[in-house]
Symmetry: C2
Subunit: 222 residues, 2 copies
Amino acid sequence: MANLKVPKAPTIRRMPTYLQKLVELHAEGVPFVSTTVLANYMNLESIVVRKDLEITGISGQPGVGYKTDELIAAIRKFLGWNNVFEACLVGAGSLGSALLGYEGFEGYGLRISLVFDSDHRKIGTTIHGRIIHDIKRITELLKPCAMRLGMICVPSAYAQPAADLLVANGIKAIWNFANVSLQVPDDVAVQREVIAGGFALLSVKIAQLEAAKKNGEVRNVG
Amino acid sequence: MANLKVPKAPTIRRMPTYLQKLVELHAEGVPFVSTTVLANYMNLESIVVRKDLEITGISGQPGVGYKTDELIAAIRKFLGWNNVFEACLVGAGSLGSALLGYEGFEGYGLRISLVFDSDHRKIGTTIHGRIIHDIKRITELLKPCAMRLGMICVPSAYAQPAADLLVANGIKAIWNFANVSLQVPDDVAVQREVIAGGFALLSVKIAQLEAAKKNGEVRNVG
DNA sequence: TAGATTGTTAATCGATTAACAATC
DNA sequence: TAGATTGTTAATCGATTAACAATC
């Protein structure tokens, strides 16, 4: 069961958002960025950002901020996104296709270079520039690449078999978009994306706001 | 800035996963479920599940567990998912289409009943059973519904204008899938889905496992 | 010099984990 | 009765927040 517990998970989750904003600011030619700016953007307190950035080992200039380019490099290095992660994707349905179409991944060092499906109507066709391969050819195609990362976008019922197949072919990390919890060996990392989790939070937020309104509280609840 | 801070966020995020498993077990005719079973499924300790369920106010039977149907009802009620949430979606691109095709939402009480886009090639067509409407008709179509929830799936650059439009038309909660942080009034709830956050965590997990392997540690790191 | 910001230490808060009696 | 599990209280751990001197 490799749902590894990672220290500083909240900090790590915020990193890509810092990175995305920093890249934008860098493109605009902004040479320095302060935690105040990043905090405002993300509706956080600046101390949160300061503590978060600490983890990357970077140091800034008091009164000024951090060098934008250095900060970008530090975050990328911390996340291991300075080298390209080659990944394969299993399940070229609507979600899989959407992920294939997301250009943002390149900026995170993620390149989906192999795509598998079992649907014969899809096999051989091209989606967002990638050929869909027959899942039966996974060993033949995957082994030579020494690929470590696999993304699962198949229907829930096929997710565990897909995971087994990936593991059997040397994959060491699985990004799971299927709506089930996967069982994998201890030396394989799994990250499950539960988008309903976000909706659950939003539902509770809505209830909170409505309760606050009922009580005539207009002030910020958070 | 309505990125409300919700108490017990980790617990709330786990709720949909419990719910999904419970519904499955219920369909299989399992009358009682213990926290041990749920914990095993999710690779958690049972005490975590026990504490989580506490929040719903349900009580179980020592030595036996919780009545599956009661637990399902309690979680749904806690999340406000016993009534259907009508939602609209802006941006019928690949991600928007994928979300429209996700049947799981109905089980969470979420029904996407209105879809908008600005692309004239899409307007008037049907995706997964929903007609794509011209975003210009948003006021006309949204106002009569008294809809509270809006989903944003447009490219980053159009996300803030889309949010403004939703807010201007009475939307009180925004589920943001665009890769930017939105600014909204205090009485509007926002939930941003940052899928790169999951990838960041996975990247760190991979690094952790590789470091552990290097040190010859085969035991479970978590 | 004044204002802004970093870096660091300490305080607070909340989530997770442990322990165990009570119950089926 | 024995085994499993709940419910509750206390202990631990870690994340967030506060405070402030040092620096540009």
